[in-house]
């Protein structure tokens, strides 16, 4: 009796989980199959999942409807530059906060935490005016510079650096290692998981970002992929769903590939950022 009941529960739970999985993954399946349909096929009711013949040319049409090479290049340059600059800014700052005692330390660290909380959805107005004054509006800098200091990164890395035993640092100093060498040879190698977490986090959030490039850019030459894809609706017409979905696939694939190879790290990175 008991075991029968148990089988029943397992059955229900498997069914329930399958439904959940369907709800979360089906939209992506639909995105991909729609991207391969013909225009009439997107309008059939009742809808069909698969196209009669995959229309690979949709991707060509989507990519030719705007300067997508430029958009892609901009997305790559912006995302990579942000990660590199953040690392260069973050590592010495986190090292100083973790291993030095200096006047005003708490005040400066409070500033970092404050930076966490001020929303860009509000400060974009003055930042735009400022960057316009500096004559940078038609460059990629407005999408990069404001993210130079990664508050979450400094916070997380400081925790990691604090766990590095001070004796190791002291003995390195006795061996006449300078602070730069200590960072490069000791602190960084011992914090690879944290740095990977922060890097992945930055990659995902800036590759996907829509709001910031939207309010910072006025010309096609500096726009990233997210803006280009969102604009497909205007350039290709609201109902050309097969073309819009083709563009969408191009935007999603790099992230999905990264996710496929390191889903564990990414999930960990995001969840960790949530728990601390």
């Amino acid at each position: 009796m008991n075991s029968k009941w148990r089988y029943g529960v397992t059955g229900i739970s498997v069914a329930l989980k399958s439904v959940v999985l369907l709800i979360f993954l089906f939209p992506f399946v639909w995105m991909i199959t729609t991207s391969l349909k013909t225009f009439p096929e997107t309008m059939i009711f009742p809808p069909k999942l698969l196209p009669a013949l995959p229309q690979w040319s949709n991707f060509v049409t989507a990519m030719q409807s705007g300067p997508f090479l430029t958009y892609t290049k901009n997305s790559i340059i912006v995302t990579l530059s942000i990660i590199v600059i953040q690392m260069l800014v973050m590592i010495p700052a986190a090292y100083a906060f973790a291993k030095y005692k200096f006047r005003g330390q708490h005040f400066f660290f409070a500033l970092v935490l404050l930076a966490f909380m001020i929303p860009g959805q509000v400060t974009f107005i003055p930042i735009y005016l400022m960057l316009a004054d500096w004559g940078l509006v038609h460059t990629l800098w407005p999408q990069i510079l404001p993210f130079a200091a990664n508050a979450f990164g400094i916070f997380l890395l400081r925790q990691y650096f604090m766990q590095v035993p001070s004796e190791i640092i002291e003995s390195a100093r006795l061996d006449n290692a300078n602070e730069f060498t200590i960072m490069r040879k000791i602190m960084v190698p011992m914090s690879i998981p944290a740095l990977a977490t922060i890097g992945l986090f930055s990659f995902v959030s800036h590759w996907n970002d829509y709001f910031w490039p939207l309010v910072m850019t006025d010309s096609t030459g500096v726009r990233p992929l997210t803006i280009g894809i969102a604009m497909l609706r205007e350039t290709e017409g609201i109902s050309n769903w097969h073309i819009i979905m083709a563009g969408n696939v191009v935007l999603v694939v790099p992230i999905l590939l990264v996710y496929l190879f390191c889903s564990k790290q990414i999930v960990k990175a995001f969840v960790y950022s949530g728990i601390k």
Binding site: S13, L16, K17, V20, L21, F24, L25, P27, W30, T34, I44, F45, P47, L88, V89, P92, A93, Y95, A96, Y100, F102, L111, L114, M117, I118, P119, Q121, V122, F124, I125, P126, L129, M130, L145, P146, A148, A149, I154, W207, D209, Y210, L214, V215, T226, A230, W241, I244, N248, L251, V252, I255, L256, Y259, S263, I266, V267, F270, V271, G274, I275
Partner: protein
């Protein structure tokens, strides 16, 4: 010798200098600049023609129906998204928590996928799914004999549709945070409850919920603050419409950013005050929690 000691005291400041410069430039200074802008009628084309008008922008703001509509929409959005997400995330976490099977690991990765995809893609795909004439959601409703909906294209259902997409986008992330919380509850407590013949519901209500309350609270605050900043879905899916039914605070700021920059700045200050209060409450409660432990 003197030189080296001076360098020693100076060194940490040099190390934090780039970070501090960036924060000063792009966080602290913009806040004051924004405050200043909110007292001006700003002329984008000719800065010299900008005029100090005191509190006029704020007066205009508080007498404008559009602002109240945006505020009201933001509140409705926030409350609904937070409640729905917490309940569903908790249910998902409980569903996955039972055993560490392969299927569960796959399920975890699956429900988390939307969270790492750009909101641009998410919004566009859901617009297609919600298409009133040939969209698959209406097809599903029809198959089950239910009335179809106009989803984003009717002012009575547009907000709910946007909410649905936001919940779908983020619930997996929060479910995994709560799952981590569930798994950190020591099993001995449950064993003790089982010895006392406590019912499942009672165990959940008296043990599980209190044990994960810090994480629940964290999720609640993070989500509330995040929801107040909602913009992307609205911009792409509805453009604030139909009939202003989905206009939100940030969307309001965005719409006025070039025509009436001072007014947009004043709205920004209001939003920042709301977020500051929420953050303050969060740290207050958190400090109390740590204190009592």
């Amino acid at each position: 010798m003197n030189n080296t000691t001076r360098w020693d005291t100076l060194r940490p400041y040099v190390m934090i200098l780039p970070a501090m410069l960036a924060i000063l430039c792009f966080v602290i200074y913009p806040v004051f600049y924004l405050l200043k802008l909110s007292f001006y009628r700003y002329n984008l084309l000719n800065k010299a023609k900008s005029k100090f008008i005191g509190l006029d922008n704020y007066k205009q703001l508080f007498s404008k129906d559009e602002f109240y509509v945006a505020l009201n929409n933001t509140l409705i959005y926030t409350v609904t998204v937070v409640l729905l997400t917490i309940v569903i995330a908790l249910l998902l976490a409980l569903l996955i928590n039972r055993k560490k099977t392969r299927f569960n690991a796959f399920l975890q990765a699956g429900i988390f996928t939307p969270h790492i995809i750009s909101i641009v893609s998410i919004a566009l795909v859901w617009m297609l799914l919600m298409e009133p004439n040939f969209g698959i959601l209406n097809y599903v409703l029809k198959t089950f004999g239910l009335p179809t909906s106009k989803w984003l294209q009717s002012s009575s259902t547009s907000m709910l549709s946007v909410i649905l997409v936001s919940v779908w986008h983020n619930v997996g992330y929060y479910a995994l945070i709560l799952l981590a919380a569930l798994q950190s509850v020591p099993p001995t407590i449950y064993e003790a409850a089982a010895l006392d013949n406590a019912s499942r519901f009672k165990t959940f209500y008296k043990i599980t919920l209190p044990m994960i309350s810090p994480q629940l609270f964290f999720v609640l605050i993070i989500m509330t603050i995040g929801s107040f900043k909602v913009f992307d879905t609205v911009r792409i899916m509805t453009g604030g419409g139909p009939n202003n039914s989905t206009s939100t605070l940030v969307y309001h700021i965005y719409e006025y950013r070039s025509n009436n920059l001072g007014y947009a700045s004043a709205t920004g200050i209001i939003l920042m005050v709301i977020i500051a209060i929420l953050t303050f409450v969060y740290f207050r409660v958190l400090a109390n929690k740590v204190h009592y432990q």
